[in-house]
Subunit: 300 residues, 2 copies
């Protein structure tokens, strides 16, 4: 089994860290990620710099990253202006987020879910004309910090509605880390049934220690593209107490030992996480750097 890991620390990770990170360090994080074998990187977000100052240097970051033709860089895009910037900066992919609940959508994007879908449709059409890979992410697909439970039937309906615009990929995001494996299986199975032309992808947070179990459940259900963040950094500034993507190195440890091929070097990711902890002046939440590899960690 081959799995593609999408490295999201440069975007979902750093966007949600309060410690300032220089443009040079962002580029270095991406350079190290690529050197470790990660081939898809969510590098930046093209959002209003006044609202998300951490991503104000998106163009400068993308201007400095390695380009060898094999790496695919994604930028988050929320509107036409963002797409203009993404095209000018030379991204390979855009990721457009549709939030599953109206309340969270308004707080996150200033519009309700229906208008979010309409935005996605307009952006998808323009991005297709430009030849970009187009991912649409359904955020809060497993629960909302403001509205609570999100019914699976509602998410499946949203999947059909966003699929109508012909995305290359549909991602289900557990934005606040409340999902459980049974729900993952149900929604992924529904995603594959209702959007057979889109690649299924999942994005998990480990806020309540369900993230890795959810990742395994997604694999079991047919997902072959998983998001992860080096060091497990990041969260969601709009969702109180939501902390931490699943960590690239901890997920990779599991996948390596399960014989799943990712093409990513675990040691290089662990080293990068340690470096990132120094940049952020705080140890990263991932566990592998503390516990050590196995069996390489064996003592005599």
């Amino acid at each position: 089994m081959d799995i593609t890991l999408v490295e999201v620390a440069p975007r979902d990770g750093l966007q949600n860290e309060s410690h300032p990170v220089t443009t040079a360090d962002k580029i270095e994080l991406i350079r190290r990620s690529v050197a470790a074998g990660l081939r898809r990187v969510e590098a930046v977000s093209f959002v209003n710099a006044a609202r998300v100052p951490q991503m104000a240097d998106a163009e400068a970051v993308l201007a400095g990253v390695p380009r060898d033709g094999e790496i695919s860089y994604a930028g988050l895009v929320f509107n036409e202006r963002g797409l203009d910037r993404a095209l000018a900066a030379g991204v390979d992919e855009i990721n457009v987020v549709v939030v599953a609940t109206d309340t969270f959508s308004r707080r996150n994007q200033g519009c309700d879910t229906a208008e979010g879908i309409a935005r996605w449709e307009r952006l998808a059409a323009r991005a297709a004309a430009s030849g970009l890979w187009r991912t649409v992410t359904i955020a809060a697909a497993f629960g909302c910090p403001f509205e609570g439970e999100v019914a699976p039937a509602h998410v499946l309906d949203l999947i059909e509605r966003v699929a109508a615009a012909g995305p290359d990929e549909i991602a289900l995001a557990d934005t606040i880390g409340v999902g459980t494996p049974d729900r993952v299986r149900r929604l992924v199975t529904g995603l594959i049934e209702r959007a057979p032309d889109a690649l299924p992808r999942c994005h998990f947070h480990n806020t309540r220690n369900t993230g890795y179990a959810n990742a395994i459940a997604a694999l079991d259900s047919g997902v072959r593209v998983l998001d992860a963040s080096i060091g497990g950094i990041g969260g969601c500034p709009f969702a109180p107490a939501a902390t931490g993507n699943i960590a690239t190195e901890d997920l990779l440890y599991t996948l390596d030992r399960m014989g799943v091929d990712t093409g990513v070097d675990l040691g290089a990711v662990i080293d990068t996480a340690a470096w990132l902890g120094e940049v952020l002046e705080s140890p990263v939440p991932a566990l592998l750097g503390r516990a050590g590899r196995f069996p390489a960690a064996a003592v005599s």
Copy 2:
């Protein structure tokens, strides 16, 4: 689906915490666990007090716990002297550990695996005559801190050998937190096949963020008894860098949302974990107390 959680914080948790805990606080931890609905508690270990001073007050702890006839208290027993103490203290269950590798067995128990099995056979016979529930735990079943990989075929062979003494229950323990879900499925399936008369049980640590995924894999494979530790405290003093059982509250959150019945009250466990963090003067590693329940944690 009904699942029985075995609360191991009083034994596997506290045994591996360096902060001293009074007998009164140990009893209070057990009292709170039982009040939360936990019906099996690994309460103490009957070991040499010079070697494991944290468990020196085993008799005093058991003398103070609530006895309402529905609660089953287990004690870890390593030898004849320990069984004598366990019987005198009025345990309901004994748990005898057989370590899967000779090196770890010698460091942990002062004998190799074969002698560990012989000990188990002698203890099983005496405990059966006294009417105690007898669990045998195969430690380091997923990997050894000293010998590295542990072959599944070796563990399956050990299962057959310990099953010959007629245990009520056989537990597979990932003592140092290196297991992955595929290995869990393989060993649990083998356990059920090779020891059909013993109840299968699993014991996971979350040292490398695989513990909860392993617990779900165990359930998928037929296990209905899982160990967990309130707050996720504990580890293994003989295994360097091995920290933390899976946390009762984080596992319970997942099971509750999956519709799995345990009879345990999540809020009471979260409160107990917070209390335990105060006793240990250090926040517990479990995440639920920090992230909050969902959807009860929803904000407006």
